[in-house]
C-alpha cells in the first residue's frame, strides 16, 4: 500500500510538477536560478525540490528560500557563512508547525537570517573609528547609530579612538613600517586590523603593550556589539522601529538595488517586511512589485525610455494568479547563469525545466574539470559538446523543444555588456543529430580576418548553430594552408562545405516554392536533408579527389590551386572554370574521366547557388597529400 502511494506520487510529480517553465525565458531563467540556489544550499536536486513543494510549499518559499538566498549572498562575497545553520534550519522547520506564513517567515528571519549576519553586522558597526563621525552636521546622533545604548557604544568607540591617537603619536616611525606607509594619514579600519594582527617580534616592547591594550579595547567593542545583536535581535527581537536602522542587515546589490531590503535606508524590520512582501507578491505595499520593467531587472526595458511601447508598463497583477511566487524567481535570475571563463555568464535554455536543468548541471560539472586546462577554447568546446551530447541522449524529447543559450559578460544597474541570445534552430539541430556530420563539424580551424591581427581559431559547430556561413572561414583557412602556414583540416572542411551547400540549396528550393514556408512536405524534406548531405559527401569526396591526377608534381598542383583560389576569392565563376578547364585540357585522360567530368558539370557549371563551396572543395583537394 505504502509503496503504491509512493509510486503514485512519483507519477504525479512527473506528470504535473509544481515547478514548471512558463514559456517566458526571462521568468524561466529565474526558475532555473531558484532550482540552482536550493540545490547549492540544501543539496536538493530538482526531484527533491518538486517533492518538497508539493508537500509544504509555504515552508519552501517562506522558510527555506529566504535563508538560502541570503546565505548565498553572503558566501558569494567571501564572507564566512555558518553551514551549521543550514542543518539547524532543516531540523527546526522539519518538526515545527506554524500558524501562518508570516509567523514562519519571522521565525526564520530572526533565528536564522539575523544569526547568519551576526559577524557581518558586527564588522560593519565596529568600522566606526572616529567618535565625531557618529554625529551629523547639526551635532545630532546619526540615525544609523541611534538606539537605546548609543551612548555606551559611542563612548567605547571614543576610548578606542583615544588609544589609537596615543599610539600613533608615540610610535610614529614604527607604525609607518607596520602599515607600510610613507606618511600617516587618516587611520582607517583596515589599518586597525593590520595593527592588532601584527605579531612580529621586532617591535619595541612599549608598542607591543600598547597594541595589546588596543586589541583588548577592540575586542571589548566586538563583544559588546555581539551581545547587543544576540540579546536584542536574535533572542528577544526586542527593538523599536526607530532602532531598526541601527540593526539593519548590511546587504546591498548592484543588480537588485530597487528592492527595498537592499536599500540603505531600510531598517531591520523594514527589510524583513519588504522581503516578506516580495515573496508574498504583495504589490499593494511594495511599489516595485506593481510592474515588471527595468527597475526589477536590467534586462527589461524602462517604461520611461520606451514610453510609446504599450507593453513596457507591464502590470504584474494578472500574473499573480498564474505565478504566485513570481518575484522569488525574478530574484534568482542571476543564479540561472554560470560563469565560464572568457565566455562570460552562460545559461542554456529550452522549453523544458528538467532538460535545461540537466544540461546546465552537466556543464557545471565539466567546468570544474576543464578550468585547470589552459586552452581557452576547451571551455567553449565542452559547452557545445555537452549540449549536443544531451541532445543525442534525449533524442526523442528534445527534438520538439527550441533551444537557446543566453550569455552576458557583465550586468549591473548601469551596463549590460555583450548580451547574447543564441537560438539553436531545429533545422541545425536535426542535422547535428547525425554522428558523422556532428563529429566532423565539432572541431576548430584556424583562420584570419581583417578584424584582428594574426590567426584565430573558430569553432565551426558554434558558427553552424548560430546559422552563420562557414564558407568564408574555410576560405580563409585554405588560404593559410596555401601559404604553408598550417596543415589544412580537410575532412572538417569537406563536411562543413557540403552541409552548407546542401542547406543553401534546400533553402533556395523552398523559396522557389513561392516562399511557402509551411508547405505540406516541409517537415519531411527536413529529414531527407541529412541523407542527402551524407550521399553528397560520398559522391563528392571521391569525384573531387580525382582532380589530384591533374599533375604528379606537387608544385604544379599548388600553382593551379593558387590560381583557382584567387578566382574564388574574386567570386569569379568564369575565371575559375576557365583556369580549371584549361589546366585539365592538357590531360586528355583526365578530361574524359566521366566521374570527374559529370561532377564538375553537375556541381559547378550547372549550379548557380552553391558552386563556390564545391569549387573550394575541388581547390583544397589539390592540397591533399602534400609533403611537409
Amino acid at each position: 500500500m505504502l509503496k503504491e502511494i509512493a509510486e503514485n506520487k512519483t507519477v504525479e510529480i512527473s506528470q504535473n510538477p509544481p515547478l514548471q517553465f512558463t514559456g517566458n525565458w526571462f521568468i524561466d531563467a529565474g526558475i532555473l536560478g531558484f532550482v540552482n540556489l536550493m540545490e547549492e544550499v540544501y543539496g536538493w536536486d530538482l526531484d527533491k525540490l518538486q517533492e518538497m513543494i508539493i508537500k509544504e510549499p509555504e515552508k519552501v518559499y517562506y522558510g527555506y528560500f529566504p535563508f538560502a538566498y541570503l546565505y548565498k549572498w553572503l558566501s558569494d562575497r567571501n564572507q564566512e557563512a555558518n553551514p551549521k545553520l543550514i542543518e539547524k534550519l532543516e531540523e527546526e522547520l522539519g518538526k515545527k508547525a506554524f500558524q501562518n506564513n508570516k509567523e514562519l517567515f519571522d521565525f526564520v528571519w530572526f533565528n536564522f537570517i539575523c544569526n547568519l549576519f551576526k559577524d557581518l553586522w558586527i564588522k560593519s558597526k565596529s568600522k566606526l573609528i572616529y567618535k565625531n563621525e557618529a554625529y551629523d552636521k547639526k551635532n545630532k546622533t546619526k540615525q544609523t547609530i541611534d538606539y537605546k545604548n548609543t551612548q555606551t557604544y559611542i563612548q567605547k568607540i571614543g576610548e578606542r579612538e583615544n588609544l589609537i591617537n596615543e599610539i600613533q603619536d608615540k610610535h610614529q616611525e614604527e607604525i609607518k613600517k607596520i602599515l607600510k606607509k610613507r606618511e600617516l594619514k587618516k587611520f582607517e579600519h583596515d589599518d586597525l586590523e593590520k595593527l592588532i594582527n601584527y605579531n612580529d617580534e621586532s617591535i619595541s616592547n612599549e608598542l607591543k603593550r600598547s597594541i595589546e591594550l588596543l586589541k583588548e579595547k577592540h575586542l571589548g567593542i566586538i563583544n559588546f556589539l555581539k551581545e547587543e545583536w544576540e540579546n536584542n535581535v536574535i533572542n528577544q527581537q526586542n527593538f523599536t522601529e526607530k532602532e531598526s536602522l541601527f540593526y539593519r542587515i548590511p546587504i546591498d546589490s548592484g543588480f537588485y538595488k530597487n528592492f527595498l531590503f537592499f536599500n540603505n535606508f531600510a531598517g531591520n524590520l523594514e527589510q524583513k517586511d519588504s522581503f516578506y512582501d516580495v515573496i508574498y507578491f504583495n504589490f499593494d505595499k511594495e511599489k516595485i512589485l506593481k510592474k515588471i520593467d527595468k527597475t526589477v531587472n536590467k534586462f527589461l526595458p524602462s517604461d520611461e525610455e520606451f514610453s510609446n511601447i504599450n507593453y513596457t508598463e507591464l502590470s504584474t497583477e494578472p500574473l499573480k494568479k498564474q505565478i504566485g511566487y513570481l518575484f522569488v524567481y525574478l530574484l534568482c535570475f542571476t543564479y540561472g547563469f554560470e560563469k565560464y571563463g572568457n565566455m562570460g555568464y552562460v545559461s542554456f535554455y529550452s522549453n523544458d525545466l528538467e532538460f535545461s536543468y540537466i544540461i546546465n548541471k552537466r556543464l557545471k560539472l565539466y567546468k570544474k574539470k576543464i578550468e585547470r586546462s589552459k586552452d581557452p577554447n576547451l571551455i567553449f568546446k565542452v559547452t557545445w559538446q555537452q549540449i549536443i551530447d544531451s541532445l543525442v541522449e534525449y533524442k526523442s524529447s528534445w527534438s520538439l523543444e527550441n533551444m537557446y543559450t543566453i550569455s552576458y559578460q557583465r550586468l549591473d544597474n548601469q551596463t549590460q555588456e555583450n548580451v547574447e541570445y543564441i537560438g539553436i534552430p531545429k533545422f541545425q539541430a536535426s542535422i547535428l543529430l547525425d554522428d558523422a556530420i556532428r563529429e566532423n563539424l565539432n572541431d576548430s580551424i584556424q583562420f584570419r580576418s581583417k578584424k584582428f591581427k594574426g590567426n584565430k581559431y573558430c569553432w565551426l559547430l558554434e558558427e553552424f548553430i548560430k546559422g552563420k556561413p562557414l564558407y568564408p572561414i574555410i576560405l580563409s583557412h585554405i588560404n593559410l594552408a596555401l601559404n604553408e602556414e598550417i596543415i589544412p583540416n580537410l575532412p572538417t572542411c569537406l563536411y562543413s562545405l557540403i552541409s552548407e551547400a546542401n542547406i543553401s540549396e534546400f533553402k533556395a528550393e523552398k523559396e522557389k516554392q513561392n516562399g511557402n514556408l509551411f508547405s505540406e512536405n516541409y517537415f519531411d524534406n527536413y529529414k531527407s536533408l541529412v541523407r542527402e548531405i551524407k550521399e553528397d559527401i560520398r559522391f563528392t569526396s571521391f569525384n573531387a579527389s580525382l582532380i589530384n591526377q591533374i599533375s604528379k608534381d606537387a608544385d604544379t598542383k599548388k600553382r593551379i590551386a593558387r590560381e583557382l583560389f584567387d578566382a574564388l576569392k574574386a567570386r569569379d565563376k568564369n575565371m575559375f572554370l576557365n583556369i580549371l578547364l584549361k589546366n585539365m585540357n592538357e590531360d586528355k585522360k583526365l578530361c574524359s574521366n566521366k566521374n570527374l567530368n559529370d561532377w564538375i558539370f553537375e556541381k559547378i557549371i550547372k549550379n548557380d547557388i552553391s558552386f563556390e563551396m564545391y569549387s573550394l572543395i575541388l581547390t583544397m583537394n589539390l592540397l591533399r597529400g602534400e609533403k611537409r
Binding site: E505, E509, K573, N574, M575, L577, N578, L581, K582, M584, N585, E586, D587, K588, K589, C591, S592, K594, N597, I600, F601, I605, K606, N607, D608, I609
Partner: protein, 115 residues
C-alpha cells in the same frame, strides 16, 4: 539542383527562356565523338579563350564553324542551339559555354598525355 532545365529571362521578352543544359550536353557529346583528340583540344583552347572575355559573338562563330559539316549528324545540336542562341546575360552564357566545352572534353578518347 534537381531540375535540369535552367531558365533565364530575355531583356525584352516576358517569358522565361528554358536552357536545358543536360540536353545540350548530350547533344554535344554525340557530335564530337568522332573528331580527333588534337582537333578537339585545340577547339577547347579556342573556345575557353572566348568565354574568358565573354565574347559571345566569337564563341558562336568558332562553334558554328566547327559544326558546319552537313554530312554528319549535327541536327540535334543544331536544334538545341537554335532554341538558345540569343545574346545572353553573362552568367547564363557562362553556364551555356562551359557546358559545351566540358562535353567536348568528355569525348576525348583518352590518348597520351599532351606535354
Amino acid at each position: 539542383m534537381s531540375e535540369n532545365v535552367y531558365y533565364w529571362q530575355k531583356a525584352m521578352g516576358d517569358k522565361p527562356l528554358p536552357l536545358d543544359l543536360l540536353k545540350l550536353k548530350n547533344a554535344v557529346g554525340d557530335v564530337f565523338k568522332h573528331e580527333s583528340d588534337n582537333y578537339k583540344q585545340k577547339l577547347v583552347y579556342n573556345l575557353l579563350e572566348r568565354v574568358r572575355n565573354n565574347d559571345q559573338k566569337e564563341f558562336f562563330y568558332i562553334l558554328l564553324k566547327a559544326m558546319n559539316k552537313p554530312k554528319e549528324n549535327f541536327k540535334e545540336l543544331w536544334a538545341e542551339l537554335q532554341k538558345s542562341y540569343y545574346v545572353m546575360p553573362e552568367e547564363v552564357f557562362i553556364n551555356f559555354a562551359y557546358s559545351v566545352i566540358i562535353d567536348i572534353m568528355a569525348t576525348y578518347s583518352g590518348g597520351e598525355k599532351n606535354e
